[in-house]
Amino acid sequence: MSSKVPSKLLELRSVGKSYGTAQVLKDVDLKIEDGEFLVILGPSGSGKTTILRLIGGFIAPSQGEILLDGAIINDLPINRRPFNTVFQDYALFPHMTVRGNVAYGLSVRGVPKAEIVARSDKVLALVSLGPLADRYPAQLSGGQRQRVALARAIVCEPRLVLLDEPLAALDVNLRRQMQVFLKEIQREIRTTFLFITHDQEEAITLADRICVMDHGKIMQIGAPRDLYDRPGSAHVARFFGDNNLIEGRILSVAGGRATLDTPLGTLVACCDPSSGLADGDSAFLAIRPEKIRILAREDPCPDDAAALGVTITRKEFAGPLTHLSFVPDAAPSILLSAKRLSDEMALLSLGEPGLRACWGISDTWVVRA
């Protein structure tokens, strides 16, 4: 029972949460490793905040177990869990100075006064708030409040820092800065971060691992690169950046490749042998827009690639990249998109005949429909 694996900090075992008849979280299994930056990504209503509140102890699970270092902590009250939270709207104490806010957790625990001062000064310096220590939250900007909230959470040296969409209220530029800053802080203090967001770019920037959620369920967990290149479902394939999904039926599966019958003809794509996809299953062929090259008549297509006759229907210049919409000649009702360097696209024009779309088989991926 108590087979402690040292690297597992926290574990959720088939955890569920219901409010009346509404089940907001279903049978979630999740392991959080010591020292990692785990991002839970999902749209609103996906249950991501519920997971955070369950771990923090703000709500109790309806079923399942939450384990810390292998011991069940379902009934451990909030104030005795070694976790600290950065709240979405910061929840700073308005009647306390920056220093008062940061010192709160320590003074509540009865840490000696000299140590409180030393530790809060150290953390305030870490988040570069030393000069503002005597200000009140109302006198700070959004980004500064954000840093106070972070300082207040990490000063107690928690085992796990819970961050509930902390950057949602900041403007784009500040958000970028804070992302870099958060990542640096996390590396510096070597503490496990559990970060909630609905912004997939933010997730990719921050995460060691991303846990994608939808409708109260975990869709997939993995490193950002894995989720991007080898999505486990059509949902993840679509949610993570742009993707072309071509629906079809599997004709055969062999050697990590599947052959699909699609409206565009028979296409070959890479697939995960462990996914259990078999002949006759309906599936999507996924190919990223940046992996598609558009070739003029005379250009050769490389080996181990697929090529289709296509017509460009839209061309959008977006700085260094140009976005193209095009339809295959074999199935003009299917709209696909490509994203390539603008210089490469400059010569192509709308409606030009004899163009081909070309992609490497190794850049494709089959997901279950």
């Binding site: 104030n79 600290n84 009647h95 709160y104 009140y136």
Partner: protein
């Protein structure tokens, strides 16, 4: 449109200030003027004199009643607020129908006639009243006690109960304004419920506490009906003295001077309350 608002705005504020001036400032100034006059027989002598104020400050009875009244009203304000605070916390913790019902029950006495409530209290506190009969029945006392009626104890008790809604409501309002996230944040930082109450709830409800204290103090110091009806001959308060100057004694200038004294006390109390109600960090919202 813009032309209209350009003139409509100042016009509206002019009307508002005019009404305030006519109903509050002018009466007060005439009162102030009156306090420097004197009475000869049944006519008022309009030659300015400090006589009224000198008499107020030198008369030993006046001064002792004055300080006793301030002490009494201070105690009423303190005790009423002390009782109101947990009630407000309790109501604030309720949700849905229970909260609504309790809130209505708290404010319902405000709808009743003031005189009616005092009569009700007289019958409860009197020698043959409910309170005495209960104490007799439980054997706590042997003979009916007059401890609770026609003295300052009675004034204290009745005012504390009658003014309770005026203390509960402002405290409840300030408690409602405290975001629930702050308690969660405090708990998240290991604070116990008592610590959260002490370090977050109480400091952030200071505006409500200050309002409750000043409301109850000012309303009790200005009241002369309650002391008149339940205070008896021993329950003499400053308000009753002022009232008698405008009635039986027929000395309006002296009454006005005592009124100015009372107004000064109220201004001081309001200033103290503003000070007390200020939350550091400008968080009074």
């Amino acid at each position: 449109m813009t032309r209209l608002t350009k003139f409509a705005r100042p016009a509206t504020s002019l009307v508002i200030y005019a009404v305030l001036a006519a109903l509050i400032v002018v009466p007060f100034l005439s009162f102030l003027a009156m306090s420097f006059f004197s009475v000869e027989g049944v006519t008022i002598n309009r030659t300015p004199t400090m006589g009224n104020f000198i008499r107020a400050f030198t008369d030993p009875v006046m001064m002792s009643v004055f300080w006793r009244t301030i002490l009494l009203c201070g105690a009423i304000a303190f005790v009423t607020t002390l009782i109101a605070y947990p009630v407000a916390v309790f109501i604030n913790g309720l949700q849905g129908v229970a909260r609504y019902v309790l809130l209505t029950a708290t404010t319902a006495p405000l709808i009743l006639s003031y005189v009616m409530k005092i009569y009700a209290f007289r019958s409860i506190l009197g020698g043959n009243g409910l309170l005495n009969r209960m104490l007799l029945a439980t054997g706590i006392i042997d003979t009916p006690s007059s401890f609770f009626v026609f003295n300052l104890n009675a004034v204290f008790l009745v005012l504390a109960v009658l003014l309770a809604p005026f203390a509960i409501l402002p405290i409840l309002l300030s408690l409602e304004k405290i975001p629930a996230a702050l308690s969660e944040a405090a708990a998240d930082l290991s604070a116990s419920r008592w610590t959260i109450f002490r370090t977050v709830t109480v400091p952030l409800s200071r505006p409500g506490i200050a309002t409750a204290l000043s409301f109850t103090f000012i309303m009790s110091i200005g009241d002369f009906v309650t002391p008149q009806m339940v205070g008896g001959p021993n329950g003499f308060t400053f308000g009753r003295i002022i009232y008698s100057q405008f009635g039986l004694a027929f000395n309006w200038p002296f009454g006005a001077a005592l009124g100015v004294l009372m107004a000064a006390v109220i201004v001081v109390v309001l200033a103290l309350a503003m000070r007390l109600g200020r939350v550091p960090g400008g968080a009074s919202r």
